[in-house]
């Protein structure tokens, strides 16, 4: 895996180089963040010619290792102004790795208004003009059909939806999954960066590529991969629970714990939890049958299978990757009590290509600000569809939570660094609050998922309502996550490797066998620390200080029922998270 491809959209020239020495030992988030730090001017405008977008598979992508199919995408974020790494499932990462591509960089910006398709196969890279029928508001579901018909059913696709074409701050990058549905690098507006460079889509045709990446020590790799898969299958969360109920099982858990943000973050518990719970999602899919599937993997090699196909009343597919955070934002925070309404909204957000967390929290914020009627799923759906036009309302929602809060004159706007706070109230789940405040990404639960230890009792237990132990918990999880995000692994492996030491050791052994290395657990920790320090250095150079590592002030003085707790970390305590 040594091709380093640069596509310059200013000159429309392609350079296919050997991977530079300094990036040879990096992959995934470690590579995207180091590259952005090295080559992107921190004070540049994220939508201007000096920003660069980089795609990189992880250390283990393209191997037979379970869960190794995540693709990392990096750039300066137009939503937050910080460095950004957003990762996704789909088939892109495995194909890229098998084609021997270490990284793909899109840089520059054409002077004209035409959109292009970047097509990569084993012969090289070609820039085609984008078909007119997939531009100017064509939904992603249709665009994937058109591109698959043109370039072949089995190609990998990365796509900027209408929101990306319009360069909206919440635009995501959509990836075709193995069945032609959509997965997303959702957070931080990277679709707008792709759109700003006039790239509508990237096509990967791996015809003629080897079936696997080269493995330095195949026998050792196989043994480690087997031990790794065993840990995933053995752990009750990765082996059973996630495939049965999906991530939406968290609705009832957070509701019971009093940490389910409701009605625009004015409460931590709702009464209509069973309208939108994972148990109800499972029962509805099972009862409706048809194209519905209770569990589904988002990439080849996924054995956790947390995704699902949610069908309508007639059994016809509506959406997949129907995640807790989206269901929470629309169901609890925006009070939409009908799971079908939420499913159609999820599909519509995938179709226009926006982050379903930021836009869903924006809907709840718009309801609090009087722009939309509270709890009205039909009105919210009409508003989201307007993003494809885009009408002024469509642009406002596609602007994300921070913009909607400002336009509505609200102080109660749940963002950090202008990125929406997701589904765990930081007053009642304090560890994840520290992650929201301090991660270089803007509010992001996945950056250091303290919920696992605060609420789920995975990797030990730290009381979610107390401050004790939270700084170390958030710090250690952020370090571990930065490392896992560099492997190409799905973050959900953490549930198993936090509890089963053999699983963690097998992960390290797989990397060693793949590349003939002798890494230890300490090296993995060092990698995670180095990634975080690089990202934070970029942010500092872009103008961010410790004063930006704070939650919205209302969390400090509005108690969250039922526990009636407030956010009570001092600035000095928060700053300790990154003291390493």
């Amino acid at each position: 895996m040594n091709k380093f491809i640069r596509v310059n959209m200013t000159t429309r020239e392609v350079a296919m180089q050997e991977t530079p020495e300094k990036y040879a030992g990096l992959a995934g988030r470690a590579l995207t963040s180091t590259f952005v730090y090295d080559e992107v001017k921190p004070t540049c405008h994220a939508l201007g010619k000096n920003n660069k977008l980089i795609f990189a598979p992880g250390f283990l992508s393209g191997t037979t290792a379970a869960q190794s199919g995540r693709i990392s995408v990096g750039a300066k974020s137009p939503l937050t102004g910080t460095i950004k790494e957003s990762n996704s499932g789909g088939s892109f990462s495995q194909k890229m790795a098998k084609m021997g591509i270490k990284a793909l960089v899109i840089e520059g910006m054409p002077a004209d208004d035409k959109f292009y398709i970047v097509k990569i196969d084993m012969n090289g890279v070609v820039l085609d003009e984008a078909p007119a029928e997939i531009l100017n508001g064509c939904g992603n579901h249709e665009a994937i059909k058109v591109l698959s018909a043109k370039y072949g059913d089995s190609v990998g696709i990365a796509l900027a939806g209408p929101a990306g074409e319009y360069r909206l701050p919440t635009a995501n990058i959509s990836f075709k999954d193995p069945e032609g549905h959509i997965r997303s690098a959702g957070r931080g507006g990277l679709g707008a960066v792709l759109g700003s460079k006039k790239v509508k889509a990237i096509i990967l045709d791996d015809t003629g590529a080897p079936l696997s990446v080269p493995i330095a020590k195949p026998e050792a790799f196989q043994a480690a991969a087997k031990a790794f898969a065993k840990a995933l299958v053995t752990h009750p969360v990765t082996g059973k629970a996630l495939s049965a109920y999906g991530t939406d099982v968290l609705i009832n858990i957070l509701n019971e714990a009093g940490g389910l943000p409701a009605k625009n973050f004015t409460a931590g518990r709702i009464e209509w939890n069973d309208n939108i719970s994972g148990e109800t999602m499972n029962a509805t899919i099972t009862e409706r049958g048809g194209e519905g599937k209770v569990s589904h993997g988002c990439h080849t090699g996924c054995i956790i299978r947390c995704s699902q196909w949610y069908p309508d009343k007639n059994g016809k597919y509506i959406t997949s990757g129907f995640e807790y955070e989206t269901v929470w934002a629309l169901g609890a925070d925006a009070g939409i009590k009908d799971l079908d309404d939420i499913a159609y909204l999820d599909r519509a957000m995938d179709d226009v290509g926006v982050d379903s967390i930021d836009v869903s929290v924006a809907i709840a914020t718009a309801m609090a600000g009087g722009l939309l009627p509270f709890g009205d799923g039909k009105a919210a759906l009409e508003a989201v569809k307007q993003i494809a036009v885009p009408t002024p309302m469509g642009r406002i929602l596609g602007g994300g939570t921070a913009i909607v809060g400002k336009l509505c004159g609200l102080f109660r706007t749940a963002v950090v660094k202008d990125q929406a706070i997701p589904a765990y109230d930081p007053r009642a789940v304090k560890g994840v609050g520290l992650t929201y405040a301090t991660t270089p990404m803007g509010a992001d639960h996945t950056a250091g998922y303290a919920v696992a230890t605060n609420i789920l009792k995975v990797g030990g237990y730290v009381d979610p309502l107390k401050k004790d132990g939270q700084v170390e918990l958030s710090r250690n999880l952020q370090i571990a996550t930065a490392a896992v995000d560099s492997t190409g692994m799905c973050l959900f492996i953490a549930f198993a490797i936090l509890d089963i030491p053999e699983g963690f050791n097998a992960l390290v052994d797989m990397i060693n066998a793949r590349y003939d290395l002798a890494l230890t657990a300490d090296d993995v920790t060092a990698l995670g620390k180095s990634v975080l320090k690089t990202e934070r250095a970029f942010n500092a150079a872009a103008g961010f200080t410790n004063a930006h590592d704070r939650l919205p002030e209302f969390f400090e003085y509005e108690p969250c029922p039922p526990h009636n707790v407030v956010w009570d970390f001092t600035p000095e305590e928060i700053d300790e998270v990154f003291n390493f």
Binding site: L242, T247, R269, L456, K457, L491
Partner: protein, 78 residues
Amino acid sequence: MTVEVRLFATLRRHAPASPNGVMAVEMPAGSTVLELVRALNLDPKEVHLIMVNGTGCGFEQPISDGDRIGLFPPVGGG
């Protein structure tokens, strides 16, 4: 005393008659969560998360009249 028990995920199969796994259960005063779990014929090994009035705790936790008790098998998401 009467406590409100809420069963979630796979534990709901033990309460097929209760809508959404919610039921009122009579227990002797001074009971613990473990005694409640046994009274419900649940296998303690199946119960991974216990919340009494929204606060995580263990099997030894004493329960009181009117408590809201949530019981979960191992689950996760994110």
